[in-house]
């Protein structure tokens, strides 16, 4: 019997060993998640005791800071509505959005490593200092973007290629986060304008013709030697559906088709790709995928390959039908061409600093994957240059700079078509990538291309 008991001892002991290991696991791997969880009442209390960190643009200009007025600490946003969506706000109803939300624990200094220095400060009763966030944002570009959109509804995204740092993320209409309490009810009730919505990351729109970049790339990946001359009679009959074009283009090659945005050509290309490969190409450029970004981004949508009969496939190939994408995603699509075929996930933060400008953390831009071959991308790039020099994007021309772009006029059931423009410049050595969307803005070549020119010009001035 004694032997049984010895074995029993092991059986009884084992769960306690497991418990101890589990506690270790909890602390090591879930410790910070639990300690900084928004529903953890300690975090809520701590917030009242901590000097919340600042949010800065890439030059160090202050986008958000806590100030003491008459003993009360309030959060101030010097740029008002310009950065409202990306920087976000902290309301006293404990709602947080934007970077204020995603980096809450950094701003509260909760990511501080336990050290003797910090412990001594705690004992001395020194108020806890949060960390400052240095973003990739360029205030000049953001302000310009805000001005360009004016009273219209839309979004502007500007990236620096090679790293895909986000230089500007504008959504309009916007709101003044300094007056949130006063305007809360009316802001929330505004169903027509939806000022609280971050259209750049959350708005899903049919991409229209700018998706021809993807369709074209997919076709070139399949047939790199594509020399076909297409014939466009002004429409294409796809089984029971007649897809109309904007004009009769006659005989055109790939580059010209891109320049004039020939629906017939790209519908043809989409059909020859087939629903399977079209779908896979879309997945490759990030459709249906969650983006690892500092702000929440809605997933761009494409129906499953099995749900793309030829009629729908033809429409999808030209960015209509059920396809939906966010402006940020379309900027990424353009960046793939700018970055020689590499898809690099965008980033908003470069550094975390203490108030004394000491760098706590350097955040490196993300690696990226090769999505299209350099040959494919080269041809798309040339085609995109033609869009601006001789095609639908003439309004984006800049003297002395080779601009590559694509316009889009997205039909939608709610009124005038949305106006899109994506592009980058200088075409051979890009310094800036933009995506512009103007809701119900009419033809892409008009509204959006004009705004793109202004943004690119300013960006290249430095």
């Amino acid at each position: 019997m004694k032997n049984n008991i010895i074995r029993l001892i092991y059986i009884v002991l084992a769960p306690f060993i497991i418990l101890s290991l589990y506690l270790g696991y909890l602390h090591l791997f879930q410790g910070s998640f639990l300690a900084t969880h928004p529903k953890n009442p300690r975090v809520i209390e701590l917030e009242k005791l901590v000097n919340r960190g600042k949010i800065l643009d890439r030059e160090g200009l202050i986008l958000a800071e806590s100030v003491d007025t008459n003993g009360l600490t309030i959060r101030r946003y010097p740029y008002g509505e310009t950065f409202a969506h990306v920087v976000g706000y902290v309301s006293d109803k404990r709602i947080k959005t934007g970077l204020e939300a995603s980096y809450n624990d950094v701003l509260l200094g909760l990511t501080k490593k336990p050290s003797l220095k910090n412990y001594l400060a705690k004992l001395q009763g020194k108020p806890n200092e949060g960390f400052n966030l240095v973003t990739t944002l360029d205030s000049e570009l953001q302000v310009l973007g805000q001005q360009l959109l004016g009273g219209k509804r839309g979004a502007i995204v500007a990236l620096r290629p090679q790293t895909n740092e986000v230089l500007a993320l504008v959504s309009a209409p916007s709101f003044d986060p300094n007056q949130l309490k006063a305007n809360w009810a009316s802001l929330n009730a505004d169903e027509a304008q939806k000022p609280l919505l971050n259209r750049a990351t959350q708005g899903l729109y049919p991409p229209g013709s700018i998706l021809k970049i993807m369709t074209g790339a997919g076709a070139l990946e399949k047939d790199p030697e594509l020399k076909e001359i297409f014939y466009c009679p002004g429409y294409i009959q796809v089984r029971n559906y007649k897809l109309n074009d904007t004009a009769v283009h006659g005989k055109i090659d790939f580059e010209r088709a891109m320049a004039v945005s020939c629906n017939t050509t790209f519908a043809t290309l989409g059909l020859s790709l087939g629903s399977e490969e079209f779908y896979n190409t879309a997945l490759k450029v990030g459709f249906l995928k969650s983006l690892d970004f500092d702000l929440g981004v809605n997933k761009s949508f494409i129906p499953a390959a099995s749900e793309l009969p030829v009629e729908d496939l033809a429409q999808s190939a030209i960015g209509q039908g059920k396809i939906l994408a966010t402006p940020l995603h379309m900027a990424l699509l353009a960046s793939v061409i700018a970055n020689n075929g590499k898809m690099i996930e965008p980033s908003l933060i470069t550094q975390v600093q203490t108030n004394a400008r000491e760098v706590i953390e350097e955040i490196k831009p993300k690696e990226g994957q090769q999505v299209f071959s350099e040959a494919t991308v080269g041809r798309i790039r040339n085609a995109m240059v033609k869009v601006v020099t001789e095609g639908t994007g003439k309004n984006a021309q800049i003297k002395g700079v080779e601009v590559a772009g694509k316009t889009g006029t997205a039909e939608n059931p709610h009124g005038d078509p949305h106006s899109w423009f994506v592009g980058f410049a200088p075409a051979q050595n890009p310094q800036i990538v933009v995506a512009i969307l103007v809701e119900n803005g009419g033809q892409g070549g008009k509204e959006a291309a004009v705004m793109a020119k202004a943004i690119i010009e300013r960006a290249l001035k430095d």
Binding site: M1, L8, V12, F16, L34, P114
Partner: protein, 412 residues
């Protein structure tokens, strides 16, 4: 005074130091706490010292570490109760004294514990009777109806019944162990019936923690007596089956299981208790936020089931492992007594009592940390609870008695 039990005296001295430092810190941090807290602390230490002297006078040869560990765990529990709910702490103070008295009574009435082995059927009858009483007269406290209320006084018979269960099993198994080596239904029968009824009663009372405890202890003792792994396997299968049935049949079981898997789905509702417990644990870190600096008082039942969450938050991972170690040491000493005993009944009884302590401790520690689904059961010596304290003091008393008697065998 005997050098026989000197080590015990030394350890109690260290425990006293721990207790007084803890109470001192609390008084400094919370000036509103009454000064009598400190005198109560001193009295408790005097009580344990008194128990030590009692054992000395009797020239008891029982294990030297049982009393100090019991004192340490009760003391730490008391400190945390003063920190969380001073009103309950005071009651716990009185219950510790009652516990100490029952310890003395247990020692005195079991001069020869072997005589206990003769009353097996009485134990099971008394046990079942007590459980039936709660079915008929029980009042609801928290999730279970397993309580008896007499005036202002609330008592959980199940806590004492568990001792009867172990006494019954020990005596029965010792008599029948050869027969049970072959799993024959006629010998297993009465066992299964007795055990089955107790578990069913408990389940009907929604006291799932105690049901699990009974079940586990039963299997452990069966294995100790027969060495047959098949019993444990079949038992575990039966348990899983029963648990699955309970999941689909009983809403509250389903809830417990669901929030164990994912408390985050309902952080403000059903998952609140576990989520807040985890927040407390995570916020404490390795070294803890310091005694008195945590914010675990918002956890429901923090002074009973969830006291360990406060320990983890304020004393950190280190403190948590420390407390677990204390329990492990106690369990180790209990098994050592079982292994050293020369009398079969002593072996079985000591094993059973130790398993009772071990399994109960694991059930609540695991539940509170989300390792296993939460069941309402007390953490021995630390949770607030008169019946629990009483039962566990008696448990240690019995272990002491066995230990003394068996050490005497070695000197013959």
């Amino acid at each position: 005074m005997g050098s026989l039990r000197r080590k015990e005296r030394q350890l109690i001295f260290y425990v006293s130091l721990l207790l007084m430092v803890g109470l001192g810190i609390l008084k400094y941090l919370f000036p509103d706490l009454e000064v009598k807290m400190l005198s109560q602390g001193l009295i408790i230490m005097a009580v344990f010292l008194g128990l030590h002297m009692f054992l000395n006078i009797l020239k008891y040869k029982c294990d030297l570490y049982l009393l100090p560990m019991m004192a340490a765990l009760s003391g730490i529990g008391l400190v945390f109760l003063y920190r969380l709910e001073p009103a309950y702490a005071e009651r716990q103070f009185w219950w510790i004294i009652v516990g100490a008295v029952s310890f003395i009574i247990a020692i005195l009435t079991t001069k020869d514990y072997r005589k206990l082995g003769q009353f097996k059927y009485i134990y099971i009858l008394v046990g079942l009777l007590a459980l039936i009483v709660t079915v008929v007269f029980g009042t609801r406290v928290g999730g279970s109806t397993n309580w008896i209320t007499i005036g202002q006084f609330r008592f959980q018979p199940a806590e004492v019944v568990k001792l009867f269960l172990v006494l019954f099993l020990a005596s029965y198994l010792v008599d029948k162990k050869e027969l049970l080596a072959k799993p024959k239904l006629e010998h297993l029968g009465p066992l299964l019936v007795m055990w089955g009824m107790s578990v069913l009663f408990l389940v009907s009372q929604k006291d799932l923690g105690t049901a699990l405890l009974f079940f586990g202890t039963f299997l452990a003792m069966l294995y100790a007596a027969t060495g047959k792994l098949t019993y444990i396997t079949i038992g575990s299968l039966m348990f899983s089956g029963g648990a699955a049935v309970a999941y689909f049949l009983f809403g509250h079981v389903k809830v417990r299981f669901d929030i164990w898997l994912n408390p985050w789905a309902d952080i403000d509702g059903k998952g609140y208790q576990i989520a807040q417990s985890l927040f407390a644990i995570g916020s404490g870190g390795i070294f803890g936020s310091g005694l008195g600096f945590g914010k675990s008082s918002i956890i429901p039942a923090v002074h009973t089931d969830f006291i360990f969450a406060t320990v983890l938050e304020e004393l950190g991972f280190i403190g948590g492992i420390g407390v677990i170690s204390l329990y492990l040491l106690l369990i180790y000493r209990g098994f050592k007594i079982a292994l050293r005993a020369k009398n079969d009944f002593g072996v079985m009884l000591a094993t059973g009592l130790t398993c009772l302590l071990a399994i109960q401790t694991f059930i609540i520690l695991g539940g509170v940390t989300k390792l296993i689904p939460l069941t309402g059961i007390t953490l021995p010596f630390m949770s607030y609870g008169g019946s629990s304290l009483l039962a566990n003091f008696i448990l240690i008393g019995l272990l002491c008695s066995i230990s003394h008697r068996e050490e005497e065998e070695y000197e013959k």
